[in-house]
């Protein structure tokens, strides 16, 4: 568009999105969204993907954002369309994902009158957004769109809602490409304080039992190369959170895998015994720490986070550093390079960790009832895709097994709902991820419960020819809740059995996707190869052991050392 040309709000918004580099928008139209959809009809650079439920739009935009590092964009009509986005917006908020949600609103003179399909979106979303706008004047739309992208993608990323009454879409607007976004109340601290960085470097250099504890902030900051440098420079053993998987290659000798409730024995005990815990872009969540008072009891703590509100929220660090993980870690590397360091200092510690890794590997037993071990299926996915697929998950047991038995080697490889724990996230997120990274093999590891929450998005995958491979670990239960009921509620399986379910193979075929069912161990690999090679959306229904549990497990609120099932075969079903 030529600059300064008079246009309509809806069209100017499309142009603003294109100028922000947005190439895809996930959405679902409706009454007051029609002017915007009319503008989308002519869009050249911006592609619209029609989902089958607005929740799918938000999750797909989220998956796209996580896979690419760009801002994910979704849109919906007013009222029910907009409220259907809510779960997806909350999901993006809890996991700090850059998302812009454009919700259309009833005419501005009708706002507050309980008009047809009216919902107060800026009000409803208040606790789950980084920021929100109600734009009543078409002239403000482009500026707001630019601000929204800026806010969503910088500092600690997060979702921004733009709620637009339909008359603003129809109103006149002069589009000017906006160059600077100066928001007086928004100045994220990117550079860490050099004094703090020096103090941290000194502590790292002196530590005898250090541990690097990495969260999703490492991935959003693009800090994986600096982290690798830092870890190798002082041979720091690495534990990652669920959100941090992929921030450090799990094939690396310094990797201890995930820590926390279903983390490895090695990682959890290392954190328990360490004398220095270096937390980067992580937030000491209860699923990581267990009983907070007993977490890392011998450690001095360095906490690096771009969000000052995270520092000191759950633990009081000795050395807080507010700043972007990339910048701070580069600073640490720079400082450490000038310091003398005898490698013997941490040798006993590394030997102890190596020994523990040998002694307590993750393990499972093959089921005796002829079903598949879910862990085996994931190992096969890992093997067939050579640690190289983008793995999306739903929430529950399969998600935890996916963290344990797939080997993550690069950032943005693991896409999962961490903070909110949203069942139904996997399939739409995988569609978004595949659209964002068409070159990658994208696998959605799901459960029979979560899959049924958003399975209508198979139609979207078929519609737009998005060849994701959905692997349902089908145990006929809402497995994680059943596991808790087994362990802590006297096996009273209250409403967790879901063995009355559709035939997923036929269901996939009914949607026009490829459907398969696998019951035999030796069929797992060929089915996976076929699904990946077919180039179409595919669903594989793996019949897995109904009452298999995720181990090790730290019961909620317990100390990390009170782990169930981590200690070799005898302790497995304690």
């Amino acid at each position: 568009m030529t600059p300064d040309k008079k246009t309509k709000g809806a069209k100017a918004l499309v142009t603003a999105l294109e100028d922000e580099g947005c190439d895809v928008i996930f959405g679902f139209p409706g009454g007051v969204a029609i002017p915007f959809y009319d503008a989308l009809y002519d869009a050249k650079k911006l592609r619209h993907v029609l989902v089958r439920h607005e929740q799918g739009a938000a999750h797909a935009a989220d998956g796209y954002a996580r896979a690419t590092g760009r801002v994910g964009v979704c849109t919906s009509t007013s009222g029910p369309g907009a409220t259907n986005l809510i779960t997806g917006i909350a999901n993006a908020y809890l996991d700090s994902v850059p998302l812009v949600a454009i919700t259309w609103q009833v005419r501005s003179d009708l706002i507050g009158t309980d008009a047809f399909q009216e919902a107060d979106m800026t009000g409803i979303t208040l606790p789950i957004v980084k920021h929100s706008y109600l734009v009543k004047d078409a002239a403000d739309l482009p500026q707001v769109a630019h601000e929204a992208f800026h806010i969503a993608s910088t500092g600690r990323p997060g979702p921004v809602v733009i709620d637009v009454p339909v008359d603003a879409a129809l109103g006149d607007c002069v589009y000017q490409r906006q160059v600077s976004t100066d928001l007086p109340g928004y100045k994220p601290t990117v550079k860490g304080h050099i004094k703090q960085i020096r103090a941290a470097a000194k502590a790292i250099n002196e530590a005898q039992r250090p541990v690097l504890y990495l969260g999703g902030g490492v991935i959003s900051a693009g800090a994986a190369p600096e982290i690798l440098q830092l870890a190798e420079l002082r041979r720091l053993p690495v534990a990652t959170t669920l959100m941090g998987l992929g921030a450090f290659p799990e094939t690396h000798e310094l990797s201890m895998g995930m820590l926390g409730m279903h983390g490895t024995v090695t990682a959890n005990y290392a954190v328990h015994e360490c004398d220095l815990l270096i937390a980067v872009g992580a937030r000491f969540d209860d699923r990581v720490t267990g009983k907070l008072k007993a977490f890392a009891p011998h450690a001095r703590i360095i906490h690096v986070d771009v969000d000052p509100a995270e520092i000191g929220k759950n633990v009081a660090p000795l050395i807080p550093i507010v700043g972007d993980a990339k910048h701070v870690c580069a600073g640490l590397v720079n400082e450490l390079q000038g310091m003398e360091w005898p490698p013997e200092r941490t040798e006993p510690w590394l030997a102890r960790i190596a020994e523990r890794r040998r002694e307590f590997p993750l393990h499972y037993e093959d089921p005796t009832d002829g079903t598949l071990a879910p862990q085996f299926v994931i190992q096969e996915i890992d093997r067939v895709t050579a640690h190289d697929a983008v793995v999306c998950t739903d929430v529950g047991q399969h998600q935890m097994w996916a963290t344990q038995y797939y080997t993550y080697t690069f950032p943005r490889q693991f896409i999962s709902s961490g903070g909110l724990g949203t069942m139904g996230f996997g399939l739409p997120a995988s569609i978004g991820a595949k659209i964002g990274r068409p070159d990658a093999t994208v696998v959605d590891i799901s459960g029979d419960g979560g899959f049924q929450m958003t399975m209508q998005e198979l139609a979207t995958a078929v519609n737009y020819d998005v060849p994701v491979v959905v692997c349902i670990l089908n145990n006929g239960y809402l497995g994680m809740v059943r596991q808790w009921q087994e362990l802590f509620w006297n096996k009273r399986y209250s409403f967790t059995c879901i063995d009355v379910q559709p035939d997923f193979k036929l269901l996939a075929e009914a949607f026009g996707a490829v459907g398969m069912r696998v019951t035999d161990k030796d069929q797992v690999e060929p089915a996976l190869r076929e699904a990946i090679a077919c180039g179409r959306p595919a669903v594989i229904d793996f019949k897995t052991s109904p009452e298999e549990n995720v181990y090790p497990m730290v019961p909620a609120g317990s100390e990390i050392t009170e782990m169930i099932g981590g200690h070799g075969k005898d302790g497995r079903k304690s």
């Binding site: 208040l126 606790p127 920021h131 109340g185 509100a309």
Partner: protein, 159 residues
């Protein structure tokens, strides 16, 4: 411990909701809240008084900083700030009681802003402590209605 937060915000619709909502979500009870324009008509200043321990107050302050419309927050040190609140109180008063009410008003430099046969209405400006003391003295006479603006406060000197 009581904290008086002075928050400079953009003067835009919905900003007060964002600020107040944050306190509610973090489990704070707001004791008083006063909002008005600042020296710059594009900006408003909110004075909030809350009761809470150091750690939660620190956390809520950090969360407030994250609101895009919030520009500046100060946790005012009571020893180094001036504060005031305006109070309107209607006191029952006939005969001796009225005389007593008028004497109390005199001591507190309260202004009589309304009178009828059964009651008088006083307006008084002062610190929170002064207003509490006044109300305590008036209580036996029969306090019919109280309206308070909430504390406004400002750092001393150059702030």
């Amino acid at each position: 411990m009581k904290h008086t937060l002075s928050i400079l915000v953009e003067n835009k619709p919905g900003v007060l909701t964002r600020v107040a909502g944050l306190f509610a979500r973090r489990g704070f009870n707001i004791e008083s809240l006063a909002v008005g324009l600042s020296e710059d008509p594009k900006l408003s200043r909110i004075t909030i008084v809350i009761d809470g321990d150091e750690h939660p107050v620190d956390q809520v302050t950090k969360q407030l900083h994250k609101l895009i419309n919030v520009l500046k927050i100060r946790d005012l040190d009571p020893d180094n700030a001036v504060s005031a609140e305006l109070l309107l109180v209607r006191v029952a008063g006939e005969g001796d009681k009225r005389t007593e009410a008028l004497q109390i008003a005199e001591i507190f430099k309260a202004k009589i802003v309304d009178v009828d046969r059964r009651a008088i209405t006083l307006r008084v400006v002062g610190t929170n402590d002064k207003l509490e003391a006044l109300l305590e003295l008036l209580q036996p006479l029969g306090v019919l209605e109280v309206v308070r603006t909430g504390t406004i406060a400002m750092g001393r000197g150059r702030g």
